[in-house]
Symmetry: C2
Subunit: 156 residues, 2 copies
């Protein structure tokens, strides 16, 4: 009985915000390797990853190609509907006005982000999210933030 | 000489904001016919239309498929660069947070919109545009607004 309980405990604890943020971070590392501003995102529903993306603004020559925008479109394609009810977005950097505005329209249930963006993040900019959306910040904040700092250090 | 002058006057007056807004309105009518919220947009550089688009959120099942977002991506593709310097966006409805946020990143020179969106427009929402961007509002406002009203009347 003791063994069974501890097994279930283990099962429950695997799918933490940190677990999924690590997957978003892998996407951010891929962006870094492509010389893109290193932001990664994933979308999860019922502990299943349904979209993975990273920033591609340089490759696509397109300011709208943020990781979050691609993740929203990919998730909607996967779900066959445009509302991301019961979905959680994990993103390594706090979303900007554009991405927060898109998340507002998507009615996503939860947004989890890593590093804050004191200059252009949606909290500073006052962008409104959907009333249904829960926000969690600071998950693997140091690792997400360090990657950004390393990128801009490399660029100088 | 008199005739020549009046010819040049005519040439200068053709490319007014109303002239281009009518083209954006044509796009909005196309959206209306497809049962999409009727918003149309075009992007102009040196009096040349380089992008035309209309809202396709229903067809594409994608909240990011606003007319403006598509116009930004199409213009960048046309120009081969992601900044819309010297470009003007004509859009029949005031941009939302998402679209204004995308326009912020694009550094577009001018935004001309028709009808205001008192509920979800970027001015009400407080979305920040790029300091370089000039905004003109209310061009063919009545026609742009009537089309929206007709659409929602039809939907009821």
């Amino acid at each position: 009985m003791y063994k069974l309980n501890s097994y279930f405990c283990f099962m429950e604890n695997i799918f933490t915000d940190e677990y999924f943020m690590k997957k978003a971070l892998q996407e951010a590392y891929t962006a870094f390797d492509k010389d893109e501003i290193p932001v990664g995102a994933i979308v999860v529903i019922n502990n299943r990853v349904i979209a993975k993306s990273h920033n591609l603004t340089e490759l696509l020559n397109d300011v709208t190609a943020h990781a979050e925008m691609q993740a929203i479109t990919a998730s909607a394609n996967f779900l066959g509907g445009k509302y991301l009810t019961n979905c959680t977005l994990y993103v390594t950097l706090e979303p900007c006005q554009m991405c927060a505005g898109a998340l507002y329209w998507s009615q996503i249930s939860k947004i989890v982000y890593g590093a804050s963006d004191a200059q252009r993040g949606f909290t500073k900019m006052g962008t409104q999210l959907h009333p249904k959306t829960v926000v969690v910040s600071g998950v693997l904040e140091d690792e997400c933030g360090e990657l950004m700092k390393d990128f801009f250090k490399k660029k100088r």
